[in-house]
Symmetry: C2
Subunit: 727 residues, 2 copies
Amino acid sequence: MISYFWLAPAGSVLALLVAYFFYKGMMRQSEGTPRMASIALAVRKGAMAYLRQQYKVVTVVFLFLTLVFSLLAYVLEVQNPWVPFAFITGGFFSGLSGYFGMRTATFASARTAEAARRSLDKGLRLAFRSGAVMGLVVVGLALLDISVWFLILNHFYPASAGPQSLIIITTTTLTFGMGASTQALFARVGGGIFTKAADVGADLVGKVEAGIPEDDPRNPATIADNVGDNVGDVAGMGADLYESYCGAVLATAALGATAFATTGFQMNAVIAPMVIAGLGTVLSVIGMFLVRTSEGADQKALLGSLWRGINSSSILIVILSAVMLHLLEIPNAWGIWGSVVTGLVTGIIIGKATEYYTSHAYQPTRKIAAQAQTGPATVIISGIGTGMISTAIPVAAVSAGTILSFLFASGFDFSNLSMGLYGIGIAAVGMLSTLGITLATDAYGPIADNAGGNAQMSGLDPEVRQRTDALDALGNTTAATGKGFAIGSAALTALALLASYIEEVRIHLDKIVSHIPSVLGGSISVSHASLRDLLNYFDITLMNPLVLVGAFIGSVMAFVFCGLSMQAVGRAAGRMVEEVRRQFKADPGIMAGTSEPDYARCVAISTKGAQHEMVLPSSLAILVPVGTGLLFGVGGVMGLLLGGTATGFVLAIFLANSGGAWDNAKKYIEEGSFGGKGSDAHKAAIIGDTVGDPFKDTSGPSLNILIKLMSMVSIVVSGVTVAFHLL
Amino acid sequence: MISYFWLAPAGSVLALLVAYFFYKGMMRQSEGTPRMASIALAVRKGAMAYLRQQYKVVTVVFLFLTLVFSLLAYVLEVQNPWVPFAFITGGFFSGLSGYFGMRTATFASARTAEAARRSLDKGLRLAFRSGAVMGLVVVGLALLDISVWFLILNHFYPASAGPQSLIIITTTTLTFGMGASTQALFARVGGGIFTKAADVGADLVGKVEAGIPEDDPRNPATIADNVGDNVGDVAGMGADLYESYCGAVLATAALGATAFATTGFQMNAVIAPMVIAGLGTVLSVIGMFLVRTSEGADQKALLGSLWRGINSSSILIVILSAVMLHLLEIPNAWGIWGSVVTGLVTGIIIGKATEYYTSHAYQPTRKIAAQAQTGPATVIISGIGTGMISTAIPVAAVSAGTILSFLFASGFDFSNLSMGLYGIGIAAVGMLSTLGITLATDAYGPIADNAGGNAQMSGLDPEVRQRTDALDALGNTTAATGKGFAIGSAALTALALLASYIEEVRIHLDKIVSHIPSVLGGSISVSHASLRDLLNYFDITLMNPLVLVGAFIGSVMAFVFCGLSMQAVGRAAGRMVEEVRRQFKADPGIMAGTSEPDYARCVAISTKGAQHEMVLPSSLAILVPVGTGLLFGVGGVMGLLLGGTATGFVLAIFLANSGGAWDNAKKYIEEGSFGGKGSDAHKAAIIGDTVGDPFKDTSGPSLNILIKLMSMVSIVVSGVTVAFHLL
């Protein structure tokens, strides 16, 4: 059975090789004029400087947490000895994914601009392949980490020793999911603050006060703005999706280990998510090679070509996962396959809904644009209203997906809890299985955006900017799908982690009491207790006040976290505004275009601001679950995770969609509606867009990580919670 | 024992008599100049016209729902025969509370302005006593309805027939809570849309485009704006708090009936919340008579006088409720008293936190004002950030309050679920016991505001406006306390209703199955099953996918409801803007001040807009719980209520505090900071204030009702849920 497992490392190696091949291909292209190369160099230097700084802070956090985990593992002995190491590798690889993705993006921007000078098609191919590097590195490194740890632990805890072995293996590997999430949260929050401080700062003084266009080289914050796109949208997104991907696979494996513990098919169920992920990676590579167009293709043909790649991968995974699940001889293989397909369909529905609510091809965004005619206040009210309403379809889709994937996997039996929960997990894996290619289409957006910035600052022909804008716009539709998958999988993974939490609690409970009352009467040993027995023992019902209070804390945590990150953007942007104003005032030659502004200083301000501001919200994400566990025990933590997931999920969609809709409402006006560029409506729409910046690029995406990190932290410290809780 | 019950109707009669006395006293005062009287008349006519229109729509809804309930009660027989009647009276009295409050307010505005012409002190006394009419009418009518129904049902289901009688009585009276909530939701949403459409519309064209001050008689929307303050802030608030007050008392009585069913003290526990409410009403009246100042008192003395009234009532209720609980011979009287005090303290903490985050005497609001210097975008971002962060303290307070009140009442025993939940309910009753006086200080704000509008439009001396502004500002601090009580009690009541839901489910389950498995082993009859048995039977654990999905739906419901009401304000305000622009264009004499604008048309537009727009969000509040029950059964509904409460509660605080902070940030600038009136910072702050209008006056306050209405609806249709659910 284990032989199929090798599909996971094989997929990893293939992904990393193809990524290397794409990277080398991109590097062979010309960077264009010396001016283009020098701007790209400045952006690259700034981005690398930022990343180095961020990794320093994160390293300190990791050292501290590793120390804590070592204490838990070796002194208090409430955690197994592999945990500190697994934690570190998760963080390391997550960081590495972001680093490689960003490095590629910063080398690709000038090259994409240069390619776009020749043709739209050449620009597309270069940008897409550069985006593909990120997609492949993320899935490649994730599968590598998963495979290596699985093999190592399998050596020390051989499956032949009984079903307990795989449970230990899978819960240990979950710890590296926590490492990945911790790193990802810092990357998303820090990167998000950097990019939006630079963006908001640059826009406020540049566009609004000085009246110069976006990416104008006279604006001192413009390099920082472009650096921000790389550290936030590329490095942040890479770490984020690495975390999502690992989280989904690891949570499902852990659920498989317990759900199938006594069936004789435990190993099959554990490796199934890994095998499906490996298979999806191979199919993503195939899909990528289908993204090609003939010379001189129009925009429609280009979009068709992107869709061909994504759709082919998706259709193939639907077919081949059915085959693979049968080869794996998993009980109820068709049912499990139904869960996989449910996951994929859920992701697609969320993606379509996202597109509908945020693209200016549809009514909602156009109506927001129309409200710009009565000023900024109505734009904001209408954008917030639309964003809130837009949460309905994604939540309905995830709700339906949750129930259907549960029912399929459990054989339509609600009492078959463990199997049903495994189904929810594998639905998330299905959704993310083709992450390689969906992430490629997502990551290519910021590359095209940066290429546009480079073209503008280098003073290239406006036609080049138009082409990079077209590339960027092209990616928006496909990116919506990618975002749908990320959001949907986060919710499903969080639910799966809720179940993993209870399983981890079981392991620690076993050390304290040997038997608990069974819901079927009499008593039962902890290791043989059903999930229902455990829930009953800890009184995890909706009437337990600790559960209720936990849910309140989870809800408020989502809001406070967003509030802190939003305030952080406001403060950091304020400092940027002051610096830009200072430079304009100190040297009038900047506005005249005769002297060059001090770009590096603005980069340094954003870097410092981000490092400073990211610590509090990120630390809360770790401290609150620990504190809740110590105060309110297992029930409180379960409530926290449910409240955090329910509120965080909805809040994340609201913020992302409001922000996206404002952005596109502004673009709709810029394309000539309601007075076009420079009109009062346009000014109002710019204010909407600026408000939306931290919504969609700082607070919103961080929430997806937050809800999973809180689950991961709870799982890792569950030993402490079980042993030492107050109430 | 029942003899103490008479304190409730006695409190009711006293409250209504004193209200009549205050009303007559107010009516004896002069309305001032003919111009003042005519403006007051126009506002009054508009307000009454609106209310008539709104009651028409609500009547249709009530007829329909009564028909449905009659069907449930008489045809399907899944509800008891009193339900349709109880439902109607709840709606009727809730509407009546709003009507009397508003009638008083519209008669009081010109009189307050006239009194303020003479002295600040005279203005305070008149405005406060007019606000007191509303406070007293609300508690008076609520206690009346509660007492009458209790007496009637007690006649038909005498307590001597066994503990089942009081359970039937209390669950039936909960239905009138649903009537009150339904009416209140329409009043809050409709009134909220009216007032903010008029306010936003008037501000956008008046202040921003035409550059005329607030309440300028040349603005055609100015009368509509003043009408809005009455229909939204007065009539809406009256119906809202009537609903909160009834909800808390009735939910606690219902919990008492089941928690104490077998103790021999059932009746004592059921009447305890009513008696405490009656006692609090008497103490509120005493407190009101303590609000008096010497002639020529300064602002500080006035504020001290308001606090003296509130504090005296609060301290007296702390002392006398201990006495009363002992007189009632309730088991664990000191514990229950601890819950009452916990509730009061929780309310005070929330009030203080609200004040800290929204008053410009403190840093958070001043920082928002400072952000106005970099434009509207940073004001908005910072206001949203502050609002989100401001949710932490209230939620922490409610969480602590929930656990403490549970522990006190249950004798520090988590397994004593029923008693503990009764404690949570009685904490809410404690918080609202002095509603008479806290509501008076809350309702007096809009009266002072309207008096200011009247003074402005009548062209009175600017000093009068300054005095009414001072009165308004004075009320803001005390109003924060009132709002804290309203928000905190909503959360606690919602948790209590969650428990009432399960008890109502028990009644219907009893008709379908006779025995269910007991968690202690063996089987047990439904009527003797413990709460834990019922929760176990319906699998109300956090791992049940139906519960999880229910929580998602609850969360999203809060957001979608807010989104819809916000969009409604946007649309209705847009129509108002068009009308005002049309009038300015059609008759240049309006701006010149030579011809009078068509005020009535603007009132009609807001009325029509509000009636039109309030139907969808309000209907959702009724349809979603019914649909969730039919699809996902009892588990789904419990999840829905928990998700809705957790998310709705936090969202409501965020919206209210962001809105309040923007409002006061603007006032802070108007008082001379950051450039003062007319500066760019001021313009940016006005935009923030406008965005905050629907936050704090439409969507935010409606959420408090929404979460309780969803619970009430679920309770009333639980028979249908138990009998006919899909999953």
